[in-house]
Point group: C2
Chain length 257, copies 2
């Protein structure tokens, strides 16, 4: 039996009772921290009175076959930040397990994909989501597909959620993400992300010290909102209730960390 | 203090430790069941050793101002199925509270918006989401905006998540939702939702008896997958790994309830 347990947005307090129970019933519990930033590993070990086996990115890519095979004869749990199958690497693992006739289970949890509603933007008005990658991931080439996504959503008046890269040792801040988007704008010149564009920065969603800031790029680009994870949102056409809600997070009134 | 606590997809075991703690610290705990189908109310009362005050739709719409005002002097918790601010009615309440200078907090939880990844479809390839409403909500007129959303997403090769109406006494089944979409197709004739279209039915996500079924409309339209909640997905252009994953849920091998 292979059970994927989502551990939510921030720390050990975000696990669900169903998730805890799966850990208690398991023969072995793995955890990974590279598809999300999560803070509760040691506290969760104390809570469960057992060791969690950490999987590094390389482990998983090399060993996912072995873990799936372990699940033939043992109850294996893999703890994953956020909602577990959002990361395609886990979806592939569960698909492999199903192909081998191994019983699988998914215990869902919170994810940034719905947490963005805390900004006041309506979930029905989000279009396609994309990630802003570090330049070294793209061989120094600016990721033009980002700009394509902004264009696509803007054309239909939809909001764009831009996840900032966390899938390496470095984790991207809003400053770094905004810089990449302004560099793209410099090349493309379609006014999809200028100094004047209104955006939202949402830092550390689901933690006790989350920050939502709404304002123009020029007013947000140099500000320090603390540690990642962070996302940016470029709102499309806003309903007046969305704007009213967002204005409660007016960047001028939001303190830096 | 006004705290919105997401209670996740299915029952009392889906609450997080953070959510439980908020309930324990509260002066009063409200719960509503009309933005999602949720089964753990009584069990949660036993777990907490306290009464939950149920809000009906009318209560909330009439009394949200009163509840916000209560939160001026008391710790008020509102338990909400799924992730709490996905429902715009709750976003409005929290915006009102913020406007009155009341401290607010959001405790996130699982939502169908990320749980859909259990189907194997990649979250980055979903476009705009929409809801299939019952005919009596639309005065008997077919909801053409649904078809517009299918067209919009298809044009860009994106997947469409179609939530089935649960916001009334009746809760929509996949059969009823498919019927409405086929009726729309009959009028529009753009081949966006025909007997031959491949779709996914995802019933009772996050419960112990969830069902995912993948197949053509003609093979799914008359099948009984049990009780709502259910969603439909019309996949756009699929990556081969998405198709491979989905084919593990081949409707011909999925039993009805």
């Amino acid at each position: 039996m292979l059970t994927f347990v989502g551990i939510g947005l921030y720390d050990e307090n975000d696990i669900t009772l169903r998730g805890l129970e799966a850990c208690r019933a398991a023969d072995k519990v793995y955890i990974e921290y590279y598809t999300g930033i999560w803070h509760g590993g040691e506290a969760l070990e104390r809570m469960l009175g057992r060791k969690l086996v950490e999987l590094k990115r390389d482990n998983l890519e090399q060993n996912s076959g072995r873990i799936v095979d372990e699940a033939k004869n043992y109850k294996i749990v893999l703890l994953v930040p956020g909602d577990p199958l959002v990361a395609t690497t886990h979806a592939t693992m569960i698909s492999d397990a199903m192909g081998k006739g191994i019983k699988t289970e998914v215990i869902h949890n919170a994810s940034i994909f719905s947490a963005v509603c805390e900004t006041g933007l309506h979930i029905y008005k989000f279009g396609k989501t994309t990630t802003v990658p570090f330049a070294d991931k793209t061989g120094g080439v600016l990721p033009q597909s980002l700009y394509d996504t902004l264009r696509l959503n803007k054309k239909s008046g939809l909001h764009t959620l831009l996840l900032l890269d966390i899938a390496s040792e470095k984790k991207m801040t809003s400053k770094e993400g905004i810089k990449i988007l302004l560099d793209l704008e410099d090349g493309m010149k379609e006014s999809l992300f200028t100094e004047n564009t209104e955006i939202v920065v949402f830092a550390r969603a689901g933690s006790g010290n989350s920050i939502i800031a709404f304002g123009r790029v020029r007013d947000l680009k140099d500000r320090d909102f603390g540690n990642p994870p962070m996302v940016l949102i470029v709102p499309g056409q806003m309903h007046f209730t969305e704007r009213e809600h967002l204005e409660r997070f007016d960047a001028e009134r939001i303190e830096e960390i």
